[in-house]
């Protein structure tokens, strides 16, 4: 059985648990079976947090952690020296990193040995400040994820967000996040 597996690295309050939730919801809308779950420790602002997705065309019965994710999203590049973001990454892993640096620079910063691995970068924090008004890199990174994979589409992400979050957020916040997803999709660069 084939799984599409994602691991999110971020700091508490950067919205990665919500981002994983939104990936799950958007894939579910597309008829997939999904799991989205965080890995909690002591909950405090700024602490390193991980969140996961597992997506499949068939019902998912696994209830263990995602240990070999093909997609690894890093919402905060300052985690790279302190957290093992490469843990369990397969040779053809795809990294998406919130940074103003180029994919080439991040490849050497990550000390990636595998030539099959791909690196994508975008300045998600800058996009978030421009579109949402604060440093919330999760939604620009969702746009980037849609660009880097064919499992999830930008339309599915945006439709789900508009439908499921309009009650919770004001139209201004909704529009800002939709713009953030679009910009993340357009601006992400890969190699």
């Amino acid at each position: 059985m084939a799984y599409f597996e994602v691991r999110w690295h971020g700091r508490a309050q950067q919205g990665i648990v919500t981002a994983a939730k939104m990936v799950g919801e958007a894939c579910l809308r597309s008829g997939k079976y999904v799991q989205a779950f965080p890995e909690f420790g002591p909950e405090r602002m700024g602490a390193p947090v991980r969140a996961y997705n597992r997506v499949s065309d068939e019902p998912i019965r696994l209830h263990c952690q995602v240990t070999e994710p093909k997609y690894i999203l890093i919402a905060d590049p300052t985690l790279i020296p302190t957290v093992n973001v490469l843990e369990g990454a397969p040779e053809d892993a795809i990294f998406i990193i919130n940074t103003p640096k180029s994919p080439q620079e991040m490849r050497s910063e990550l000390k990636l040995n595998s030539k099959k691995a791909a690196v994508y970068t975008l300045d998600a924090s800058k996009i978030a400040i421009e579109t949402i008004g604060r440093n919330m890199p999760n939604t620009p990174m969702l746009g980037a994820l849609a660009k880097a994979t064919n499992v999830i589409t930008l339309d599915a992400l945006i439709d789900n967000f508009k439908e499921n979050y309009s009650k919770k957020f004001s139209p201004k916040v909704i529009d800002g996040n939709v713009a953030a997803m679009n910009m993340g999709f357009q601006e992400v660069k890969g190699e």
Binding site: K21, E25, L28, L62, H63, Q65
Partner: protein
């Protein structure tokens, strides 16, 4: 049985699904004190109360001991009552758990399984609910978000059944199920209302025309008769659980029994395991079956009352069994599940070899390879007829 594709799939966490089930049940009273990892159940349900989406009287209390005390008072007064907790919270309810069951009060408690301190740990194991296994509560263990949701409605019917009249604990795994979004389908409010029906308490403290006493002092001349009746009542719950699981299946397409058998009928060896870890074990079974190994799973859904005859019957053709407990009974002979299964098999003419494995304490991940490791050990036991290590810890 756990995941069924039906109309209108949604993605919800276990906690959100349970809170939503509580909203649909619309209990008369909820008294609760939130604790990780069941916090969102109480948080979201109190939101429904504040929004006027339910008629429930929500009682904020200063501890879990008070939460269960308030539930007991409300239930004795004739209300339909629900609460939720985890770990230390369930531990603090301890003395009141026995009072709820002894008074035959059909209270519904969702326990999101979490390890007990010390050392402090917020993650999943079954130490909390297994410690309460002899408190006279009926216990259902859920594998998935869908099952936790479905169990809640069935729990109402089981608890309030006149042959039973006992509290029910619905267990789901902390974080693994409580915080994971999974595909599931929701019932319509009208379907829920029809299924659970109106609750009319047999004996209400508030019915002054028919005055009753709850929790009276009993001396050696009567106490044992009360306990005998209570023991008979929980034994009767077994058939009621089956009937209600069948009725649920007839109405909504997801049938539940006392236990789930997965590839067990022709199995040489089997793992007996509860809750979410059974799902991971199923993946291991599929892998090994492809290699021609006859392996299977027995997942009891009902742990109290323990369906010992049905368990013995389900395992009669198997050569070797491992009971995987997500809890240690600390110097007991193996884990609680092992105790029960091994005792159940004592009267069988052809008993399988049986081993106890303790796994996943404090949220330690239980992977497919861990299940495969146990199955390989079992296949060796089946071949040699010898259990080399009777009890041990795995996932270390």
């Amino acid at each position: 049985m756990a995941i069924t594709m039906t109309k209108g799939q949604v993605g919800l966490t276990g906690n959100t699904a349970v809170a939503y089930a509580m909203k649909q049940i619309n209990p008369d009273v909820c008294a609760a004190y939130p604790i990780t990892p069941s916090t969102q159940i109480v948080e979201e349900f109190s939101g429904y109360v504040a929004d006027g989406a339910v008629d429930t009287e929500f009682i904020t209390v200063e501890s879990e001991h008070s939460a269960m005390s308030a539930c007991i008072g409300a239930s004795a007064a004739g209300a339909r009552v629900m609460t939720a907790t985890s770990s230390q919270g369930l531990a603090l309810m301890w003395e009141m758990l026995y009072i709820a069951s002894g008074m035959r009060l059909p209270i519904i408690l969702t326990n999101v399984n979490r390890a007990l301190s010390s050392p402090i740990n917020i993650h999943c194991d079954h130490s909390d609910s297994m410690g309460a296994r002899d408190s006279g509560w009926i216990q259902l263990y859920s594998e998935t978000v869908q099952e936790a949701y479905d169990n809640l409605f069935q729990a109402v019917r089981i608890a309030e059944n006149e042959k039973v009249m006992l509290p029910v604990m619905v267990c789901l795994d902390g974080f693994i199920t409580s915080h994971a979004i999974e595909n599931m389908s929701l019932l319509d409010d009208a379907e829920v209302r029809q299924f659970i029906g109106e609750y009319k308490a047999l004996h209400s403290l508030l019915d002054t025309d028919n005055p009753v006493t709850y929790g009276a002092m009993t001396l050696p001349d009567t106490y044992i008769e009360f306990k005998r009746q209570q023991s008979d009542a929980i034994a009767r719950a077994k058939d009621v659980v089956s009937e209600i699981g069948k009725d649920f299946g007839n109405r909504f397409g997801r049938e539940y029994g006392l236990m789930e058998k997965y590839m067990l009928d022709d199995a040489d060896v089997a793992i007996v395991i509860l809750s979410s870890a059974a799902g991971t074990t199923k993946v291991a079974v599929d892998e090994l079956r492809k290699k021609g190994k006859k392996v299977g799973i027995l997942r009891p859904r009902l742990f109290r009352p323990f369906p010992f005859k049905e368990v013995a019957d389900a395992l009669k053709g198997v050569k070797a069994v491992a009971c995987l407990d997500r809890v240690d009974s600390m110097s007991g002979f193996g884990g609680p599940l092992f105790n029960e299964v091994r005792s159940s098999l004592y009267e069988s003419e052809k008993r399988p070899k049986i081993a106890s494995r303790i796994f996943g304490l404090g949220g330690r991940d239980y992977k497919v390879k861990d299940a495969v490791g146990v199955f390989e050990e079992l296949l060796k036991i089946a071949e040699t007829g010898k259990v080399e290590v009777l009890t041990k810890y795995i996932t270390m």
